[in-house]
Subunit: 458 residues, 2 copies
């Protein structure tokens, strides 16, 4: 059985990669409405791929937004049941001119496949599909029941998922939820993510004069909305890079001794992190290490900012308006709805006279931390150890998957974050890539994980 599975995985490496390329070709961008057709095409493709590997019950379920692919293979009602969650939608590609190869023409360079969605999250969804294929196509067989929910709105905050899960709670009942949408600490360092940050994403719009004005004729007489916006943004953090919004830190948990001890053991260095980012120097909230700042501390970042004339040359305009997109990453037990309100109140306090300020929230998400004592974590450790030849590390992720707490609540089951993205994968940025060696080790990990689950949770 063992030999059979291993040789099947080896024998089909090239075909697996070609099939992933086919999936990555579809521009399933959910944040821009003109891609709706490609999003739907991608859902159908995922469904077809699942059917092709032998998942017998597959359905593309329409929602008020993008469709959700739901599938299952029940091998034995008495066996443990895993619910696999992933998403087939992707981030936008701007600035597209910074891509070295077109984002939807997957291109291999130096053992990496470059494409939008390569690692976030279509490539990782594809690992699950291929792991299922390897079990179902060989005499290894499937020792657990598997259910899949692959959605198309993760990058826009999963607005229709909660309703869907609630309405299908019984049908999707499971013993553990598995999500492969996170990263590894380094190549060859298998990693289980034990926490995620939450998110509050806001837009601040500042309106000054009714239209753009000549900066000479009017400059000094009216308040400049871009200067006003800069003051507002500057007023959101202090010199120590602490967020100044009153109440912002009230619910933030202290970092435990166990967490600090675990962090010290991680194969991590600031030098390597700095090299990965290309930043001239690392800095952040005073009094914390980089790993603490990213895993255990909330932050506030401008994601985008626009006002006035930004083209070539020197236009002497006093702009009518200015806009910023500002997001905050949250940690347990911050409440995104509360943070949105605190942010809005503080921005309004910071707004100078002479301009009109409007604050609009985008989607938010709750922070989350795992309880790694559940046997599903031990099962994952064993599978990772077998595939990668090394015990996994446990670490907090800085990113957000707002629906993780939702799964935990809906199914009263633990969530396992079994991710295979490498540092510098450029998710949400130009030149996103997946490491092909890790891709195949991920497939092997998942294929072996079923046995580990059957042993420990059977």
């Amino acid at each position: 059985m063992e030999t059979n599975l291993s040789s099947y995985l080896s024998a089909n490496r090239d075909r697996f990669e070609r099939e992933m390329v086919d999936l990555l070709r579809i521009p399933s961008i959910s944040t821009e409405s003109q891609y709706a057709e490609s999003v739907a095409e991608c859902a159908d493709k995922i469904a077809a791929d699942l059917r092709a590997v032998g998942i017998d019950e597959v359905e593309v379920v329409a929602t008020a937004g993008n469709p959700i692919v739901v599938a299952q293979r029940i091998v034995d009602p008495a066996a443990p049941t895993l619910l696999i969650y992933g998403h087939y939608d992707v981030q936008p590609v701007d600035p597209v001119e910074l891509w070295d190869s077109p984002p939807f023409e997957p291109t291999e360079r130096n053992g990496r496949l470059y494409a939008r969605g390569a690692i976030d999250d279509k490539g990782q969804v594809h690992m699950h599909i291929k792991a299922l294929e390897a079990r179902l196509a060989t005499d290894a067989g499937l020792p657990v029941n598997v259910k899949l929910v692959i959605e198309g709105e993760e990058e826009v905050g999963s607005p229709n998922l909660a309703l869907f899960l609630a309405a299908n709670a019984e049908r999707l009942a499971c013993d553990a939820v598995v999500v492969s949408d996170t990263g590894m600490l380094g190549k060859g360092v298998p990693t289980i993510a034990t926490g995620l940050r939450g998110l509050a994403y806001m837009e601040v719009h500042v309106q000054g004069p009714a239209g753009d004005l000549h900066s000479g004729t009017f400059g000094g007489g009216v308040v400049n909305p871009a200067n006003a916006l800069a003051s507002i943004i500057a007023g959101l953090k202090d010199q120590d890079n602490r967020v100044t919004i009153p109440g912002f830190y009230d619910r933030v948990r202290d970092i435990s001794d166990a967490d600090r001890k675990n962090m010290k053991q991680l194969p991590y260095s600031d030098e390597a992190f700095m090299a990965e980012t290309g930043a001239p120097e690392l800095d952040g909230e005073k009094g914390y290490t980089t790993l603490e700042r990213i895993g255990f501390r909330p932050t506030l970042d401008v994601n985008g900012m626009l006002s006035g004339f930004t083209g070539e040359g020197a236009k002497t305009v006093l702009p009518a308006r200015a806009m910023a997109k500002i997001s905050m990453r949250l940690v347990p037990d911050q409440d995104p709805g509360e943070i949105e309100q605190l942010f809005t109140d503080h921005v309004m306090r910071l707004a100078p006279t002479g301009v009109t300020v409007e604050v609009r929230p985008h989607h938010g998400g709750w922070p989350w931390a795992a309880d790694p004592s559940h046997p599903v974590f031990d099962a994952a450790s064993a599978a990772l150890n077998t595939a990668f030849g090394r015990e996994p590390v446990y670490m907090r992720e800085g990113g957000s998957i707002p629906i993780i707490p939702l799964f935990e609540q809906t199914f009263e089951a633990p969530v396992l974050l079994l991710g295979f993205g490498l540092p510098g994968s450029n998710l949400h940025a130009p030149n996103e890539w997946i490491d092909l060696e890790t891709y195949h080790l991920g497939i092997e990990t998942i294929a072996r994980f079923y046995d580990a689950v059957a042993e420990r949770m059977g």
Copy 2:
């Protein structure tokens, strides 16, 4: 003679307007290199128009940049000589979607002609051409010598004009310089501008990480260049809207009692100014009135600002870089070169760790104030009074014409700013316009000004 001139002006109103439309159709944008051909076409058109009205010596002079149209009509070496300066280049048109009619398809609505360059400055150059026509085509004749310098690089800081004027100082020698590139305090309120602000125009570029990063995976660990830029901009002004750059105000002249008295007499109201701007409230440097803030005080305005993702939706990116265009309007005796250096030094002091900051100067310009005791001011007053039926007001303009001090120095002659733009003309903004009634009164003023000059300076 008098009747002849008046009736000629009345009889040719429609044709004058049609000819102005032809001039405004040419997209002579000097700030964007792809319009170079239209800029050259516009120079030729000005030259042709001058020849057509009877200016016998006309030349289109090539420079390292855009050509300069030079022309003259010497009627009597003993008569006073006026040097008319104007510019045929225009500002860019973005955001073009805010124009109610295309910027280079001049459109008349409610007595106004809408087009880029309608008032700044092609429409006003056209007034001079038509005033010359009216004198030369009638038995009124021309009682003074007229020289013209119409350049094509005013909107990019006139980089080649200084060299040209120095090289042609003898050929262009004159008793007074006349420039129609400023505005009137209100419709029917003839205005002579007695001061202009100078300009220092800077770009600030902030570089954080080498490329855009995921704001979750990296947020908190590296310094965000957009947040950094906002802090820098906010640090350039204090709560009282005073510029905080050390030394910025050192050379600023106090406002004289005579200037304060003159301002009190101007037909001006904050309410009307506010309505014109559409700002929700007026505010500016503490301790000064709006007229003082615009005419006598320097300021600092963001003209444009850009970073990260500014499209539809919520992209969770930590941007690699952020940029702002920031200009300062200067007043006597501030020195633009010195201010550029003080600005740069202060920005570098404000720059936080973790980012790389670069400051680049664009073109600058000296501030200027007139000596209104010269007889050319009295001549202009008389002509304006005759045409408009009202004594002109004297006031400081907030805008900049960086080459005015240059003319004063090169020719050791006074500069008269005889402008006809009305408030709200949207120069440098969408929907720029010229008031057609004022256009014709402007032509009449200039046509009568020649006599007033001959009488007072002959």
